[in-house]
């Protein structure tokens, strides 16, 4: 994975749970390209129509809390988001993002550095998030090697393929 990411920012506030990302009524849908049409249907209706590959979500505290549904990060990954950055993440959501190859980066207080529509630049291995529009920068500790390996492989499926020798 390219360790330098740049994209337009969508902002979300604190405690956005997975029910708000993908409502329970869509949980029988498996196809991520179908799911992406319903992302944040009530919370941010224009997102599913206007979000572009490479866009970046900047969220507040405990992003992705609630149900463990992988539908939520799968739908975000299907849009081709560059990364999700948050003040903090819910645990399973964070793991699901990483395992699907979607970079999830925790940076305390990052939400206050961004407004919707700003341009963000993220360097995964150097560990910084820049708000290019406002000229601000925040740093984060580089991701552990194990996590970078999963992201580099493009997700857990490819990592296991390598391990099993089926790649």
């Amino acid at each position: 994975m390219n360790s330098l990411l740049r994209g337009k920012v969508w902002c979300l506030d604190d405690q956005v749970d997975t029910d708000q990302l993908i409502a329970g009524k869509y949980l029988t849908i498996i196809d991520p390209n179908e799911l992406r049409k319903h992302v944040m249907e009530d919370l941010l209706p224009e997102f599913s129509k206007k979000a572009q590959p490479g866009d970046i979500i900047v969220a507040g505290e405990n992003f992705g809390c609630g149900s463990s549904r992988e539908h939520a990060p799968a739908a975000l990954a299907a849009i081709g988001l560059g990364a999700v950055v948050a003040n903090s993440f819910a645990r399973i959501f964070y793991r699901n993002c990483i395992n699907l190859g979607l970079a999830a980066i925790e940076v305390p207080d990052i939400r206050s550095h961004f407004r919707a529509g700003d341009i963000a630049e993220i360097h995964l291995s150097e560990g910084y998030v820049k708000n290019v529009t406002q000229g601000k920068e925040a740093r984060f500790p580089p991701l552990p090697t194990h996590i970078l390996e999963i992201l580099d492989a493009g997700g857990l499926v490819n990592k296991v393929r390598k391990e099993l020798g089926t790649a």
């Binding site: 029910d19 708000q20 609630g66 992988e70 903090s88 399973i92 699901n96 393929r161």
Partner: protein, 422 residues
């Protein structure tokens, strides 16, 4: 080196990595892997991974529960995928329609998780099995696929929080009230990435069913695992049902906890989690004063639909009717519990009072199957989450409380304090 927490002890055993420290990533051997409907999403990645077989079919349980029997074509397809997959990969432990129940309850009452285990499941409330003294953790379908392929999972060793519980529960105060009280302090993100251990005389005195309720809602605190220390109560529960040998572990007396909380149960009143967060907890006496009218009452979910819950609610509901204009939905946590209710006459007791007694499933808890609420409706529920839209309309309101409290609420049509009738 200072002592280890229960999480460290179990992950040390699972990974073979001596003295794992919080923050370290270890790769652990899984003792039990459970998949529910979300497990169907693991099939495609499993096939892509190219594993020739499932690592250990005797360590894999499939338990469908969200839409049982299937209520939509989409759900029917998920069930079909799981049936085909289980047949093709020789997975014998499939709890299918007719022998079904909420996945965590099926693991519990069939002895699939024992002390010292590292257990994973595709549902966020897999934490419930931490009551066995196991490290039980919810995972996503892609990592479930990796577990099916390899029997292993990467985990960041969590730091731990110690919850000390002392004192005696008063009349009308239950395990649900304890966990809501804990949530009121720890909050929905206070245990994020962390493991939680319940200690103290109150914890030791709880039944397994009550421990399940407390471990279950550590998920709402963001916890990776919520554990009790295995003891005689655990052993007695598992005595005739354990599916594999237990290897009980206990935290060291000098283990390091990131944080400790203490709660005194003496004099604590019933608690209610008000809309729209499980940590928005208030004493029931305050809520009762506001005369909160309800449209629906739900007695069910993996949190609170075991025999003790249903008996307690039945004791209050006996001889009464559901208030006019109110729907009362009762859904037992497993078919075994359903059958026991049948034997004890509880089904008739509820239905003659105007309640709906459904087959076992997640039912109204998650807003995707039955018992869905409309805009502006209010539901009193024994389940575990009350986020906007959790049970249907995002304009609905959900109050979480104990089985006894919802039973009286169903009779009176407004949120009520069970102590008034006990």
């Amino acid at each position: 080196m200072s002592g280890q927490t229960l999480a460290q002890k179990i992950l040390e055993r699972a990974s073979g990595h001596a003295g794992p420290r919080p923050g370290e990533i270890v790769v652990g051997k899984v003792d039990l892997a459970m998949g529910h409907e979300q497990g169907a999403q693991a099939i495609a990645p499993f096939l892509q991974m190219g594993a020739p077989r499932v690592w250990d079919p005797d360590r894999v349980v499939i338990a469908i529960d969200h839409w049982v029997p299937a209520s939509t074509e989409g759900a029917a397809k998920l069930h079909q995928m799981l049936r085909h997959f289980s047949a093709e990969y020789h997975l014998p432990h499939f709890y299918d329609v007719g022998n079904h129940g909420i996945c965590h309850q099926m693991l519990a009452e069939n002895g699939w998780v024992v002390p010292g285990d590292l257990a994973v499941g595709t549902d966020s409330h897999t934490n419930m099995l931490g009551a066995m003294g196991a490290f039980a953790v919810g995972i996503g379908p892609t990592e479930f696929a990796a577990v099916l392929a390899t029997g292993k999972i990467w985990l960041k060793v969590p730091s731990s929080i110690k919850i000390n519980l002392k004192g005696t529960l008063g009349k009308g105060v239950y395990a649900k009230d304890i966990v809501l009280k804990v949530l009121s302090q720890v909050k929905t993100d206070g245990a994020r990435y962390k493991a939680l251990e319940y200690h103290g005389s109150t914890a030791e005195g709880l039944s397994m069913s009550e421990r399940f309720t407390l471990s279950n809602m550590t998920t709402e605190m963001g916890a990776k695992a919520g554990m009790f220390l295995p003891d005689a109560t655990t052993n007695e529960y598992l005595r005739s049902i354990a599916k594999h040998e237990s290897h009980p572990l206990l935290p060291d007396a000098d283990a390091t906890y990131e944080k400790e909380y203490s709660f005194d149960m003496n004099g604590m009143e019933p608690q209610v989690a008000c809309p729209h967060s499980p940590d928005n907890v208030r004493p029931i006496s305050e809520v009762v004063k506001e005369h909160v009218k309800v449209d629906q009452v739900f007695l069910g979910s993996c949190t609170n639909a075991r025999m003790d819950d249903l008996r307690e609610a039945a004791g209050i509901f006996r001889g009464h009717k559901v208030a006019p204009g109110v729907r009362f939905i009762v859904s037992p946590a497993s078919t075994q519990i359903y059958n026991q209710c049948l034997k004890e006459g509880l089904i008739e007791l509820f239905t003659q009072g105007g309640a709906v007694f459904t087959n076992s499933s997640c039912s109204a808890c998650f807003g995707g199957n039955m018992g869905i609420i409309a805009p502006d409706e209010v539901c009193a529920s024994t389940s575990n989450r009350n986020f906007p839209g959790r049970m249907g309309s995002t304009k609905g309101k959900i109050y979480l409380m104990s089985p006894a409290a919802v039973a009286l609420t169903a009779i009176r049509g407004e949120i009520s304090d069970p102590r008034e009738v006990l």
